[in-house]
């Protein structure tokens, strides 16, 4: 029951509760309809794939069930876990480097005009360079080592992190800082209680944006010159002319990244940003 209901007369509470029940039913129906459309979308994708398979021939585009069987084989294979772990660790390591470099730059850009002037053009240019250029450059610098994909992910992600953190800092509500100063709060308390919570939504936006790009760059770098990882396996399958193998590795990687995005990032975001009205309405 909402807080406003607590002070209302009983007959009004009954009416409002009935209204809330109707609203819940409508929301439930809307959710079911949405789920139906999601399922329909998946079925349509499989049908298009089947049609493509028939049109091009299964040798060029294997049928969906062949790829599913291949995925099963890969999952049963002992190398799967090690290749997968290698790719995921490289992606996260790249993220870590991007956060360590991008967040302080973003803080300086958001807080001080001179630092903004200093970094702005460089960060903007870094953000517009195509990911494939970073992948190739990383391979030229580090050769066939694990550092190549890590650097590529870091270079792609750092500008996003910096720009989002800068925007977050610039968006800090000055009146909350004045309030804190009027009550004698220290600079450390203001940083912890006002600045950091303000930039959290922006950091999440940066993470989600980076995540969408980073794992693709990581796999791409491994395709070009990795010694392990999902990208390396995709290249191996390609050299064996096993299209179903290429697709199976690709789908497994996509599935894993979706799980991380939906179950880890989305949940963490909902928990940390529970104070926002939009998060509360999603949670209902």
């Amino acid at each position: 029951m909402s807080d406003q209901l607590l002070d209302r007369p009983p007959e009004l509470v009954v009416k409002v509760e009935a209204g809330e029940a109707t609203a819940r039913k409508t929301a439930s129906r809307r959710k079911m309809r949405q789920t139906a459309f999601i399922v329909a979308g998946w079925i349509a994708m499989v049908l298009v794939w089947e049609f493509g398979s028939w049109w091009f021939g299964a040798r060029i585009l294997p049928r969906p069930h062949e790829v599913v069987l291949e995925m099963g084989e890969i999952l049963g294979n002992g190398n799967f876990a090690s290749d997968f772990t290698a790719s995921v660790l490289k992606t996260f390591a790249g993220f870590g480097v991007a956060a360590a470099v991008g967040a302080p730059i973003g803080y300086l850009m958001g807080r001080y005009g001179y630092w903004r002037a200093f970094f702005h053009d460089g960060v903007t240019i870094a953000g517009t360079i195509p990911a494939i250029v970073y992948a190739v450059m990383s391979l030229i610098v580090f050769g066939l080592s694990n550092l190549g994909p890590i650097l590529a992910v870091a270079l792609v992600s750092a500008p996003y992190v910096a720009l989002n953190v800068a925007e977050g800092i610039r968006g800090v509500d000055k009146s909350l800082i004045t309030m804190s100063e009027a009550f004698g709060r220290s600079a450390k308390q203001i940083r912890r209680e006002v600045l950091i919570p303000t930039i959290v939504p922006f950091v999440f936006a940066a993470i989600r944006m980076c995540f969408a790009v980073a794992w693709k760059v990581e796999a791409l770098t491994e395709v070009f010159g990795g010694r392990n990882g999902v990208g390396f396996q995709i290249r191996t399958e390609y050299q064996l002319y096993s299209i179903s193998g290429v697709l199976a590795w690709m789908f497994l990687f996509i599935a894993f990244m979706l799980v991380i995005e939906r179950l880890v990032l989305a949940k963490a975001e909902a928990r940390l940003l529970a104070w926002r009205p939009e998060e509360r309405s999603t949670a209902l």
């Binding site: 406003q4 009146s175 309030m179 009550f183 004698g184 006002v194 919570p197 940003l273 104070w275 509360r280």
Partner: protein, 254 residues
């Protein structure tokens, strides 16, 4: 309680530039003891600037300002702003505790007591976004009282609220003040509000000078429906009209 002494205080914005503008001009007054003082004046006469200078958020250009606790030592301050200024990511209770110097059982109990006094004890775990504007402002008032300030500064705390909510909160403020008896400096442009709440009204005129210092000697609690209060409100309002006419005549024609 606090002893606040302001001597020849002036404030000029953009000093040394063509855009320099003086908002406070040689202001002097003293406030001490269990006193509720209102600073009244038209928009732009420097009321909020004066409060910001007293709180230390803003620097003054010249003059002296001294704030001591009547127990000796530095005075503690509480501040109620025009808008509630609550941290949206912290619950009501955590907002109350954010301004406390120490987190212990005593300060927690005190915060709960003041939340209870403004009728929001049951909303302690709510986020500010889950409360109405009036409820949020009540949290702001409770937060300021809960630091047990020697001096409480209030900057038009009811100006953003509808008339009925503001009236209820004024009554609530009178009750809390009657129990705590803090030294209060209250900024408002509403003369009716000032008469209802204050022991003394300092009227600022455009240009930032003190026009008049009026003592309000009426028994408490005061309610707007009381004819004595209404008569005095009309009298003070008439004086302000007179001031307005005088300052308009004195002002150069653009």
């Amino acid at each position: 309680m606090a002893v606040l002494t302001v001597r020849d205080l002036s404030k000029t914005f953009n000093v040394g530039t063509p855009r320099a503008s003086r908002v406070l001009d040689n202001i002097s007054f003293e406030v001490q003891g269990q006193t509720f003082v209102s600073i009244v004046g038209p928009s732009g006469c420097g009321k909020s600037t004066l409060l910001n200078i007293i709180s230390g958020v803003e620097e003054h250009t010249s003059g002296d300002i001294s704030l001591k606790s009547d127990q000796g030592g530095d005075a503690r301050m509480g501040y109620v702003f025009q808008d509630p200024r609550l941290l949206p990511w912290r619950s009501v209770m955590k907002n109350m505790m954010y301004v406390q110097d120490e987190l212990n059982e005593e300060t927690t109990a005190r915060a709960r007591r003041y939340l209870d006094m403004v009728g929001l004890a049951k909303n302690a775990d709510f986020f500010p976004g889950q409360l109405s504007g009036g409820m949020q402002q009540r949290v702001g008032i409770a937060r300021a009282f809960a630091v047990e300030p020697d001096l409480l500064l209030m900057d038009e705390p009811f100006s953003h609220l509808d008339a009925i909510t503001a009236r209820g909160l004024r009554a609530q403020l009178q009750d809390i003040w009657a129990q705590s008896k803090k030294t209060v400096v209250f900024v408002t442009h509403d003369v009716v509000e000032a008469v209802e709440l204050s022991d003394r009204i300092i009227v600022l005129q455009p240009g930032g000078r003190i026009y008049e210092d009026i003592t309000i000697d009426l028994p408490r609690p005061r309610r707007q429906s009381d004819p004595t209060v209404a008569t005095l409100q009309a009298e003070v309002l008439a004086r302000l009209e007179k001031m307005k006419a005088a300052t308009q005549v004195a002002a150069p024609v653009a």
